[in-house]
């Protein structure tokens, strides 16, 4: 659970204007106003840096909520 909270914090830290407190594990991040392809790249880099998992932009597109993204990272890490 702690790791999940850490992931949410890391994810939120890539956003400049969006308040970090609105991020929960159920947040549909693509519906946020600030979400863009550039933020997507920043998130991919954050995931590669902190979790050692290289996701593709397509995999990022398929994920809707932070929970889905987090599960994807865990499943990739186990491979």
């Amino acid at each position: 659970m702690k790791n999940q909270q850490e992931f949410i914090q890391n994810f939120a830290s890539q956003f400049d204007e969006t308040d970090a407190s609105i991020f929960t594990i159920e947040t549909r991040f693509k519906e946020l106003d600030e979400w863009s392809s550039l933020i997507s790249l920043a998130e991919l880099n954050m995931i590669a840096k902190n979790y050692g998992v290289k996701l593709t932009p397509e995999e990022m597109k398929r994920s809707q909520t932070l929970q889905e993204l987090y599960n994807l990272i865990l499943s990739k890490k186990q491979q």
């Binding site: 550039l38 790249l41 920043a42 880099n45 590669a48 840096k49 290289k54």
Partner: protein, 171 residues
């Protein structure tokens, strides 16, 4: 491609440039004509050839889009390394020579612009004098770059600000 870059130097203010000798005038005419040919040439290889004739240092496998404007007076101060992609409508400036009355605040100078291997300059970006773009860096569309961009970094906006690094994704 040569690794020794030209150093920043002072140049005459605008009023003094009106007293150019014939050699300097011919050089400017040559640069302008070749620059205009490269600007509107639909063949990408010819665009690179025209820019090389002007004196721009261009490496291998470089892409320069149509309607790019590279400095007319000092094109030899532009260094573009291998695998760089400069897309349409970009502008690279290396000199600044204001009117003499601005001399206390704005020194007239020319400084090299260096674009390192693999960088991408997206459409309608402007690179200002003295800027170094790092390896595999990305300058997003419409940015105005006034400071150096580190390697593997994406910048965007006017003035261009760092959005993210992506070194870990490319290793």
């Amino acid at each position: 491609m040569e690794q020794v870059f030209k150093n920043e130097k002072e140049i005459p203010y605008y009023e003094d440039t009106q007293k150019r000798n014939i050699g300097q005038k011919l050089k400017k005419i040559k640069n302008t004509l070749l620059g205009n040919m490269a600007y509107s040439c639909p063949v990408k290889k010819l665009r690179i050839i025209f820019h090389r004739w002007r004196g721009v240092h261009i490496g291998k496998e470089v892409y320069i889009g149509i309607h790019c404007f590279f400095d007319n007076l000092y094109p030899e101060y532009i260094y573009i390394f291998d695998n760089v992609s400069i897309n349409a409508d970009c502008m690279i400036l290396v000199h600044f020579n204001p009117m003499k009355r601005f001399s206390p605040i704005l020194p007239a100078h020319v400084s090299p612009v260096i674009i390192n291997e693999g960088a991408i300059i997206a459409v309608r970006s402007t690179i200002l004098p003295g800027v170094k773009i790092g390896k595999n860096a990305i300058v997003s569309a419409g940015s105005v770059v006034e400071k150096d961009v580190p390697d593997y970094t994406l910048v965007q906006g006017n003035p261009a600000k760092k959005v993210t690094e992506f070194k870990y994704l490319m290793e």
